[in-house]
């Protein structure tokens, strides 16, 4: 197995006087495509769903070509999201299992929110917040696809009683709100913690980012045997 840790000479401002910077591979191309397909689906679902949720947001249906098209396309995007997220789930579920240090992290949430990362335990690839987003989304998406099928009038509603459909409608909108709140948390965390986006765009993060936020993961990656032929010396 080749290491995912590379030493790169960069000339950008973050590199100390042209000294070589360490980068660590975080997401493969496949994982990134998988993530962005899911992300696009989730955003489209939120927009089309909110358009049919509150009359003041009905104008959003124009983005899809009108109310009817929005009604037709929303459940199909949901199906794509379900399978796309299933892919992410299979990739990442093991890394998101709860560990002892996650409890410590949660108890020091004040340090987390005030960027006192030096007071936090060393973490693996994901922190407790990321794990909560991961499992929360997994549970919400299962509930959303099940309740969504029940209210998919075109194909499935006729198999369910009206009261079942009403319950499904209420659950679907309530859980969708919670999923959107989780999504806001996810996106905000990625914005607030600078250097995070490049992990999902370029596929790697700087060594310093890994050291600061996921040191245990950095130690594991660094300890992997190095393959000189793939070392990225520029």
């Amino acid at each position: 197995m080749s290491s995912s840790v590379h030493t790169v000479r960069e000339t950008d401002a973050t590199a100390a006087q042209g000294a070589p910077t360490t980068t660590v591979d975080r997401y493969t191309t496949g994982a990134r495509i998988n993530h962005w397909v899911t992300a696009i689906c989730l955003v489209l679902l939120a927009i089309s769903g909110l358009a049919l949720f509150h009359p003041s947001l009905y104008f959003l249906t124009n983005l899809f070509g009108g109310g009817e098209i929005t009604r037709i396309i929303h459940p199909w995007i949901g199906v794509v999201l379900f399978f796309s997220f299933a892919g992410l789930f299979l990739r990442f579920w093991k890394l998101n299992l709860w560990k002892a240090e996650d409890g410590t992290w949660m108890r020091r949430i004040r340090d987390v929110l005030t960027a006192h990362d030096e007071n936090l335990p060393e973490l693996g690839k994901y922190n407790a917040g990321q794990k909560i987003v991961f499992w929360g989304m997994a549970i919400f998406i299962i509930i959303l696809i099940c309740s969504g099928l029940i209210i998919w009038d075109r194909y499935f509603s006729s198999y369910f009683s009206l009261d079942t459909q009403r319950v499904a409608l209420l659950i679907h909108s309530g859980i969708a709100i919670l999923a959107i709140l989780l999504w806001i948390t996810h996106v905000y965390a990625a914005i607030w913690v600078r250097g995070t986006f490049r992990g999902m765009i370029r596929g790697n993060v700087t060594g310093g980012w890994a050291w600061r936020y996921h040191r245990k993961w950095l130690r594991e990656e660094a300890a992997k045997p190095r393959d000189t032929t793939t070392s990225h010396y520029h």
């Binding site: 109310g67 459909q165 913690v193």
Partner: protein
């Protein structure tokens, strides 16, 4: 569907800026006297003909109901019930003409997400406007009487219009016009209530002590009313709802969920924004990078 002037609309679906000046005025009622119905289905035929619907030939299911349920093309349906009256031992043939009740407080309109797809005229008629309908089926869930049907071919919701197009030009609904026994009559609310009173008095004099008017208060009354010989037991008329009201689930969904949901989303965005303004970005420091490089170099040496 007659295209109404906006000023004639008391309620418009998915529109919060409804014209508060418009009140119910010259309300109309279709009164269906179940005790007079002979089950001839002339009303069904007239409905389909006037509205130019084309119900496909169905299958026989050992009942007089034909078709077996309301459909996107069959907006009214005679529902037949053979009822053995326990107090008299008589077999009674209860025939109820099912269809939209034109509730004063319509659940379909409350549930509808498409602006202007469901409207309520000042005369009380609740109408679906196909041009604005997106075919989502929310009206089906909102309706306490299980009336609207979504056409698979058109992708639009349909139901009885109370012949709003005929009423707009001073005519009665096609079903009332076709009814040979005057079991279906149409007029202003006052006229119909007076007419119903007479019918109920007559029924009571003939031994139907529980005869009465079906005008359920749970939906603020309806603009289609029944005279029932057994008004105490509406459910024996092919499951007519005893105390219909908009489901609390729908009220919850279209009420508190809608407002708290959007407030929570807006709140989360504001909290995130404030957090960023107060704390500034969480940045990796130069010493973090140096520590990482040292760690990697140490690993390389081992």
């Amino acid at each position: 569907m007659a295209s109404p002037r906006a000023m004639d609309l008391v309620r418009v679906s998915a529109t919060s800026t409804a014209n508060a000046d418009v009140q119910f005025k010259d309300e109309v009622v279709k009164l269906i006297d179940v005790s007079r119905c002979i089950g001839c289905k002339a009303c069904q035929a007239a409905c389909i003909e006037w509205n130019d619907r084309h119900e496909v030939v169905g299958t026989f299911d050992a009942s007089y109901d034909n078709p077996t349920d309301l459909t996107p093309d069959m907006w009214t349906l005679m529902r037949f019930t053979e009822y053995e009256n326990p107090s008299t031992g008589n077999l009674e043939w209860l025939i109820r003409k099912d269809g939209c009740m034109h509730c004063a407080d319509p659940g379909c309109l409350k549930a509808c997400p498409a602006p202007g797809a469901i409207v309520q005229y000042s005369n009380g008629i609740v109408d679906f406007v196909a041009d604005n309908c997106i075919g989502c089926g929310y009206c089906v869930k909102g309706c306490p009487f299980n009336i609207p049907r979504i056409s698979k071919t058109e992708g639009k919701a349909h139901k009885c219009t109370l012949c709003s197009d005929r009423v707009a030009v001073g005519q009665g609904p096609a079903c009332a016009k076709a009814c040979p026994t005057h079991a279906i009559v149409f007029g202003t609310t006052d006229e119909m209530l007076a007419h119903a009173d007479g019918r109920i008095t007559d029924l009571k004099s003939r031994g139907f002590d529980n005869a009465g008017l079906y005008n359920p208060p749970g939906v603020a009354g309806t603009h289609v009313m029944y005279v029932l010989h057994h008004a105490d037991k509406p459910e024996i008329y092919a499951g007519l709802a005893k105390d219909p009201r908009i489901s609390p689930l729908v009220q919850l969904w279209k009420g508190v969920t809608k407002y708290t949901g959007l407030a929570a989303i807006a709140g989360a965005v504001i909290v995130a924004f404030v957090h960023h303004v107060v704390n500034g970005p969480n940045r990796v420091t130069r010493s973090d990078e140096e520590n990482a490089r040292r760690l990697v170099d140490e690993e390389n040496r081992t």
